[in-house]
Chain length 252, copies 3
């Protein structure tokens, strides 16, 4: 796998894996661009989220889904797409949509709309019968504060309802995500989550390099990270392996 | 067009259209990258600007122009390229250049050089006989302030001189563009423009997501937007259609 | 080379050249993406750095190296990759690695690890027998201050030890690179370097457009610039040629 066998490189589990996950956000790649990304870094990608509602207007969508699945990558439509159906009262149509695409993975979220948490748990439970479910905690709406205890409680109950992993929302404004307005980690919240929830079950959204570095330095090479940009897959893998300046001395 | 027929999605006019325009900035894509972009999002792109002087040093330029035109996209060389000819006193050469490329669209601007406004109107008038003309108002030069009344007056006279659309320059520094230094909208200026000029005739440069969101929320799904990055075409279309967090509840 | 012969465009030396260099950072392009970049702007690229340790985990690496070399581009593995070997006491393995890849160019740096400067000079001397060597001055580690006199002294001795060019590190935090925290140029340091070292021998890392503009305006169209993003090759060339707003009037 490596072009030269260096010692003291952190071990990474083989795909498909339960831990050490990298989730990439695809905001509308063409088929050729999808093939390019898989060619360069497919082995480092576990999950691809078709970001927000892009799947609804992307051409050749079924072919794209196949490209990902053939590369051993779980692909699913973003939580905002789920909410676009739910806010219209169309859960059955959502099921038809994702089944018709041949998807086996789904995301449940309530980041933009109001949803009773019991309803959210119901969706997770229903979907988890046929799909690998990721559920997202954290709001995209400024002003909708969630206490640390609520974060932990929601994550715990969503895992119990059948979610495979819970996603910690990255929204970078106010007290509604795991980062401060300036992009730095909300330390208390992240610690509270880590102390209560099994680390293997959490997928941290970490779009910025400084955020990825923080999680790798503090939680190890195999921490689950998400919302990685399509061009940053190889870069993130070097961070995990101690092959980038920020982590070069981390595993020596 | 959509992969699933959701209700309450704003209607978009068919191409070629007079309103609801998306203008993309191409800073030097290869032919393959051009084909990729068209494949993924060509139906959502109305105009492609070959940014600043990139057209002068891009390889396979005629083939690229053809790719865009065959996809029903108007393509033209950026205003700074126009100015590079004018500042050298070479308007006739500019005409030879763009005609030789088979272009049918042109941009007139004076963002970087000093130009008498009567001369600018003259260029618009001359070009509009053979080309679809976009003219840009707003300066790239810090310190060259333009009052709101001057903005409106120039836009009005340039449309009367034959411009198809007027472009509102995005320059994000001081009082010389439609945004503040921090990227937020210059509300008074934008309101003054909107109150005086037909909205269909204005193309707002809006390179940042927060700017695109502001215009869509305030002026509707079909507001004309420009300087969109090549990788953001699908994302912008989801914003317009209420399929992204920021606008999910906008059209419900 | 230009699609229209404009006067008053700064002359650029032909490749392979000693001055006017553009160095691009490749963070893990696929073969197709590599071909795309070469197709669009290969003639404007002198050097490609396979950023940090990406070369160690990039697929089809030898084919990629060949694509670059066939296009007349010097390609080499980043300084952090060099350090990943050195910090493990594996200089001989480093030699085997880069020789096995068919590389003829190498970078020596100590940006992340502690290295005696005499040792660094030894590596430069040893490598310069078989490779074109770039050596980098400046630290990636916050708190490790280097005085201006030390910068100049190290650059001078590294050139004397056999480096073809010395790279001025861009690290944008504290007093450890050529830029301030906000990205603006550290004027005193850059002047001190310029007054002591032949300009042709310095390659300035300048990832941001404002930094590229500063160097072109102050040191001329043919200043050596590095860490250019893969999508910014054509844009940088227009800046050099006075075909972008920021430099349009620079060479008139």
């Amino acid at each position: 796998m490596m072009n030269f066998d260096l010692p003291k490189i952190p071990a990474r589990p083989e795909k498909s894996r339960e831990y050490g996950l990298t989730m990439v956000m695809d905001k509308g790649l063409s088929l050729q661009e999808t093939a390019n990304m898989i060619d360069a870094g497919g082995e480092y990608i576990d999950l691809v989220k078709l970001g927000f509602g892009t799947s609804l207007i992307t051409k050749n969508l079924k072919e794209k889904v196949k490209l990902y699945q053939q590369a051993g990558i779980k692909v699913y439509v973003g939580g905002t797409c789920f909410e676009a159906f739910i806010v219209r009262g169309m859960f059955d149509d959502y099921l038809r949509y994702v089944s018709g695409l041949g998807l086996d993975t789904a995301e449940v979220s309530d980041g933009t709309m109001e949803m009773k948490h019991d309803d959210k748990l119901g969706y997770i439970e229903a979907l988890s019968k046929d799909f690998t479910v990721l559920s997202e905690v954290g709001s995209k709406i400024e002003g909708r504060e969630i206490t640390n205890a609520q974060w932990v409680g929601m994550m715990d109950s969503e895992l119990k309802a059948g979610a495979w992993k819970v996603i910690a929302e990255a929204r970078e404004s106010g007290n509604i995500g795991i980062y401060q307005k300036n992009g730095s980690v909300n330390l208390e919240l992240v610690e509270d989550i880590k102390n209560a929830i099994k680390l293997e079950s959490i997928l941290w959204e970490a779009p910025q390099k400084s955020q990825q570095t923080w999680f790798i330095k503090n939680f190890g090479a195999n921490v689950n990270l998400g919302n990685i940009a399509t061009g940053e897959v190889i870069s993130l893998e070097t961070l995990r392996l101690g092959l980038r300046g920020d982590t070069l001395l981390q595993f020596i």
